[in-house]
């Protein structure tokens, strides 16, 4: 038996110290009784539970959770962090994305991807310095996540910068959002930088902030500070 599993067993109940392969009916009865007394949880892969619990101890979760009140958004943010951890395991990554789509739709997986790519953490860090109260941050963070497809744009290397600027201007005029965020990765970074240059000469009542690290490049389009949070 695996040593990790073995280490779980001796504490269960007096007399139940055998490995799972050799559990007899009496041992299982004892375990079932202890379960009904709420002393036990039966798990399959300890790794899955550890993976979820690990995200609850992460710095990203500590930062973001205080600004999340919506139960479903909390779960999606945790799952976004889990997706990040599963990036080296494509099969598990895709399986989790499929489950998110089935439960929350395409919008749900977009929220999780925003978290997976570190965009939410950057946004929270940036908005926290501009808001006047915790309530404003909560409102802004939840609004942007609940309207993820309105306020986040994933830039592709094949995008036309001019057309994207047009699209962004339409979004700004139609929704008057606190912020729009552009995300680019690897080969799309150059396109995103071109978009930023075009926006710089074109924007009214909004200003730009950008962040580049490793293989990603983010552009935040914020409403002018005089208007933000008013």
């Amino acid at each position: 038996m695996h040593s990790k599993e073995q280490s779980l067993i001796p504490n269960v109940a007096e007399g139940v110290t055998k490995g799972v392969l050799s559990w007899g009916k009496e041992e299982i009865k004892t375990l079932a009784k202890n379960f009904l007394d709420k002393k036990l949880i039966f798990i399959n892969n300890k790794e899955t539970i550890d993976l979820v619990k690990e995200q609850l101890k992460s710095g990203d979760w500590s930062l973001c959770k205080q600004y999340l009140k919506d139960k479903n958004l909390k779960i999606l943010v945790q799952l976004g962090l889990t997706l990040r951890k599963l990036e080296s395991k494509p099969e598990q990554l895709q399986d989790l994305k499929n489950k998110i789509v089935n439960k929350y739709g395409a919008k749900g997986v977009h929220v999780a991807e925003v978290v997976q790519n570190g965009i939410l953490t950057e946004f929270v860090g940036s908005i926290a310095s501009k808001a006047h109260s915790e309530h404003q941050i909560i409102e802004s963070v939840e609004n942007i996540l609940l309207n993820v497809d309105k306020f986040f744009l994933f830039i592709k290397s094949t995008d036309s910068p001019e057309k994207k600027v047009q699209e962004i201007n339409i979004k700004l005029q139609a929704n008057n959002p606190d912020a729009i965020i552009l995300f680019s990765y690897k080969s799309a970074i150059e396109t995103c930088k071109q978009i930023k240059i075009l926006l710089e000469s074109d924007l009214k009542n909004y200003y730009l902030e950008s962040k580049e690290e490793k293989d990603k490049y983010l552009v935040f389009i914020f409403r002018e500070s005089a208007d933000l949070f008013e």
Partner: protein, 81 residues
């Protein structure tokens, strides 16, 4: 304190016996209730396979072993473990 018990390597026969002790059953692949109705994971609304089940306290909640279900359970029962 609640203890986690891995049933990953428990034989199918052992898992079936455990389910029966807890008031459930199985058709050999899926977890069922005593009437033979498949038990669905309450968070992903999919039938739970006997070889991929988690069993949590709280009126005996049987879930599929995946991050979405576990995260949802912990959101509903934050002090579970």
């Amino acid at each position: 304190m609640v203890e986690l018990i891995s049933i990953k390597n428990l034989s199918t026969e052992g898992k079936l016996f455990l389910l029966k002790e807890l008031g459930y059953d199985s058709d050999g692949t899926f977890v069922t209730d005593k009437g033979g109705i498949k038990v669905c994971d309450r968070y992903i609304d999919e039938p739970v396979k006997i070889n991929n089940m988690l069993i949590f306290p709280g009126s005996t909640i049987i879930l599929d072993d995946n991050p979405l279900s576990i995260a949802s359970y912990l959101e509903e029962f934050p002090d579970a473990f």
